[in-house]
């Protein structure tokens, strides 16, 4: 399979709302071995000035990867997900993600570059609340390995 070079510049609008729950924040925090009480204890989070439990710094990847899946699973993209390797990741937080947030993401394909038999694809997810408040911007580079790579 070859990567569709016309992916660059394409956007995928958000097709679902991600509801951030307390248990989801707790599970994610445990999974990355985070110990900060603001991820687990509502009173501790409020003491720091947050409305509810605060998500760890990489939590937005859940929403970003759901958006990435729109591209990876698009039959027109030519991407074999079993050959995808994560090459680079960046998060920019415009405000903290807290339990109770209702998030949507718009995915932008910012770059497609051939690499041997494979390709490096750069995507950007603009994550906001359903009300339109900007929450985070995530940028991912994924390497789709060609045969023998």
């Amino acid at each position: 399979m070859t990567i569709n070079p016309e992916l660059q510049g394409r956007s995928y609008p958000s097709n679902e709302i991600y509801s951030v729950g307390r248990e989801s924040i707790r599970d994610f925090a445990r999974a990355v071995k985070a110990g900060n009480s603001a991820h687990f204890d509502v009173a501790a989070a409020r003491e720091l000035g947050h409305a509810d439990l605060v998500a760890p710094p990489t939590y937005a990847i859940i929403v970003a990867q759901r958006a990435d899946a729109l591209l990876i699973n698009d039959p027109d993209s030519g991407i074999d997900f079993t050959r995808v390797v994560h090459a680079e990741q960046r998060f920019t937080h415009h405000r903290a993600i807290v339990a109770g947030d209702e998030l949507v993401a718009e995915l932008h394909v910012d770059g497609v570059r051939g690499m041997g038999g494979g390709a490096m694809i750069t995507t950007r997810a603009e994550i906001s609340t359903v009300a339109g408040e900007s929450v985070a911007t995530t940028v991912s580079a994924i390497l789709v390995r060609g045969e023998g790579q």
Partner: protein, 146 residues
Amino acid sequence: MTKSALNIADLSVGTEIGTRTIEITRADLVKYAGASGDFNPIHWNERFAREVELPGVIAHGMFTMGAAVQLVTDWAGDPSAVVSYGTRFTKPVPVADLDGEPGAVVEVTGVVGALDSDARTARIDLTVTLEGQKVLVKAQALVRMA
């Protein structure tokens, strides 16, 4: 956006913020898969991982990235003080199946890489290694300070 209780005036470039050891078991990868929704079988299925020419089951890059930044959030006090965080993934972290014993041990150290007294931010540079080899490159977190 909240900021760390630490004062930028008390920091200088090169100051170490600490170290952290991350012991990783196969169960940790299953837990991360469930919590993140990333069920790619290369992170839990040995046979599948080898079929796609990997050395075996490897940790999610995002697991390593997410666990490494805990050094910064513990230091900063408020997790939301981390206003940006990025890295490149250069080497996979294979996690051996050792019946609940750690199948990989990753070491994290953090130093103050840059200070911006106007923006009141500190850039923390993380060194993240597996058996002495860097697995994350240019792992940097920007922290908002008091």
